[in-house]
């Protein structure tokens, strides 16, 4: 198991966001984290990344408690992809990817660091735009650059917070394919996704969050019944089998609530 979450609780002040979560994330697989807006998915991701500390419970990553690691040590194991933003300065793609090496750099990057950055860019297929200013790229290209940056960190686990947000279908597919190929080469990927169909198409393992608690965590046979999904999303669902996969569509007759 790459990630083991035990009895995790978290909240701000009196408000509780996550309650007694228990689940596993398998190594070398693509895990999708799903749920409604505000269910705590991004918070959970950040807890796993070690950016915030849990109120109670523990998170083990590759057998080590996450909060016991220093920032740099964490960065060497876990790569985190935040949501996209616009930097104030027109750094080139290569300069942006190079910043991923921060955990390994003392003052300035060495040639080895530059090599790692270059190979990360090759892996993602963006070495032809390595000298272009980041600020001139399209949304999809930027996302690729940020993924290359995470790759330059040489982590074992990659956490992505809504990586497909505001991307067109082609770019979404590009990124998902890259993620799948990274998984194939041994990386553990956890992504917060908002579209269950995309998740089911590309993912291997699924975790559902509702009201800060896991829904039906351990079913791993690929079958997700309409009842459970309706419960998670709060709407009427129809599950449509297509070949050996499932698609869900909302039932136009309305919501459950």
């Amino acid at each position: 198991m790459a990630i083991i979450v035990k009895d995790l609780s978290f909240g701000y002040g009196e408000k509780t966001i996550l309650r007694h979560l228990n689940f596993h994330v398998p190594a070398g697989k693509f895990t999708a984290l799903l749920g409604r807006n505000g269910s705590g998915k991004s918070t959970l991701l950040r807890l796993i990344a070690g950016f915030i500390k849990p109120k109670s419970g523990s998170i083990e990553v590759c057998g080590v408690n996450v909060t016991s690691l220093s920032l740099a040590e964490r960065a060497k194991r876990i790569g985190f992809l935040p949501q996209v933003h616009y930097p104030a300065f027109p750094f080139t793609v290569e300069e942006v990817v190079l910043t991923g090496r921060a955990a390994y750099v003392f003052s300035t990057p060495t040639n080895q660091d530059r090599e790692r950055a270059k190979s990360a860019m090759r892996r993602i297929g963006i070495e032809d735009i390595s000298n272009r200013p980041y600020t001139e790229l399209s949304g999809g290209e930027r996302q690729l650059v940020m993924i290359a940056r995470v790759l330059a960190q040489e982590p074992k686990i990659m956490l992505l917070d809504e990586p497909l947000l505001s991307l067109d279908l082609l770019n979404q597919v590009k990124i998902l394919n890259i993620l799948k190929s990274l998984v194939a080469s041994g990386l553990t990927v956890v992504a917060v996704l908002h579209d269950p169909n995309i998740a089911f198409r590309y993912g291997d393992h699924f975790v559902f969050l509702k009201n800060g608690m896991i829904s039906n965590p351990e079913r791993s046979d690929g079958f997700h019944n309409a009842h459970m999904l309706a419960d998670v999303y709060g709407i009427k669902i129809e599950v449509i089998p297509v070949r050996n996969k499932f698609f869900i569509v909302p039932d136009p007759e309305g919501t459950e609530e």
């Binding site: 750094f91 003052s107 001139e136």
Partner: protein
């Protein structure tokens, strides 16, 4: 490789420029020939035949012009590098050392020292520059970390506080001291001497080396707080590690040279327009070009006016014009979106 060539020019210019600047000055008796004569005497056994103004030339070159030239270069380097690093830190190209209160704090400190009989001038100005920034930081911070917007806002408050305090001091003092205070505030490189150099050299060197070491991390930091944490650096710690040396060198510079406008704001832009935003290049070039820039401006002011015109006037006119020219030429290299 072609890019590397561009920067090397900036590293090669300073020493010869400093040497040549020694020839510039208002003295009627001490012109370029006399100086050349003195230099030759000191370095070789040759000399021009003629009158021996030796001790006067030596005093002027070694004790009046040389400290002023060195001080000007260092002040320009410090202010520019401070501006560049703060702009990276704040992820905002509109930021300068003044925004945190350094100049108004130092001006208040200087006014206090000038109206008292025992407070040392440079030290008081320097210390109050630091106090002002410290105050801005402590007002803005929460749980040890500081949001950049809060820092800018508290900087505005602190600027207001120290400007009011300065006004009070000016109001309570007699017209002659008032004049001295105003002159100090406008830039006072003409009072440069070796003792000022000694007091400024060490903090600027220390802070400068430290800031230089942080140059790559500025790149990381300027992508965002969460992005910084994601790659394994603590944004809170890195911000302090940039803020402290940037404040140190700017305050030391204002303490010995007064308030010189434009240098901390526009010259970093000029540097960035020439070498791009990568701070591993902008930092060393900021030091070199900042020093060159201010030295050229001071040389100009020494040739043009026979009495002392505050250097701030020239930096604003010359720096501002050059900046406008580059801006027009740069098309839309910057996209200041938000």
């Amino acid at each position: 490789m072609k890019r590397l060539k561009k920067e090397i020019i900036f590293y090669l210019i300073p020493l010869p420029l400093i040497f040549l600047s020694l020839f510039i000055g208002p003295s009627e008796q001490v012109g370029p020939i006399e100086i050349l004569d003195w230099v030759l005497r000191k370095t070789t056994l040759l000399s021009f035949p003629g009158p021996t103004y030796d001790s006067m030339v030596e005093t002027i070159v070694l004790h009046v012009r040389l400290p002023r030239v060195l001080l000007t270069f260092f002040a320009g380097a410090a202010l520019t590098a401070s501006g560049t690093s703060l702009q990276a830190l704040f992820r905002n190209p509109l930021v300068s050392p003044d925004i945190l209160g350094i100049s108004s704090g130092a001006a208040f400190g200087a006014a206090l020292a000038l109206t008292s009989t025992w407070l040392p001038l440079q030290l008081t100005a320097f210390v109050f520059g630091l106090i002002a920034v410290g105050l801005s930081y402590f007002i803005a911070q929460r749980k040890g970390d500081v949001s950049l917007t809060s820092l800018i806002l508290s900087g505005i408050i602190v600027n207001g506080i120290f400007t009011s305090l300065l006004t009070i001091v000016q109001f309570l003092t007699d017209p002659f001291k008032l004049q001295t205070i105003v002159h100090w505030t406008m830039g006072n490189l003409h009072h440069a001497n070796w003792s000022k150099w000694e007091s400024a050299f060490f903090p600027i060197l220390l802070g400068g080396v430290w800031l230089y070491g942080m140059r790559w991390r500025m790149n990381v930091l300027s992508l965002g707080d969460e992005e910084t944490r994601a790659v394994g650096l603590d944004p809170k710690r890195e911000k302090i590690r940039i803020l402290i040396p940037a404040t140190l060198i700017a305050s030391a510079s204002v303490a010995v040279a007064g308030v010189i406008g434009m240098v901390g704001l526009a010259v970093p832009h000029i540097v960035r327009m020439m070498v791009g935003p990568d701070n591993t290049r902008t930092m060393p070039v900021s030091f070199a070009f900042g020093g060159i820039f201010l030295l050229l401006v001071d040389n100009f002011s020494r040739t043009v006016a026979s009495f002392e015109v505050p250097i701030g006037i020239f930096t604003t006119l010359i720096g501002g014009s050059f900046f406008v020219y580059l801006l027009k030429r740069a098309q839309d290299l910057y996209q200041l979106e938000r």
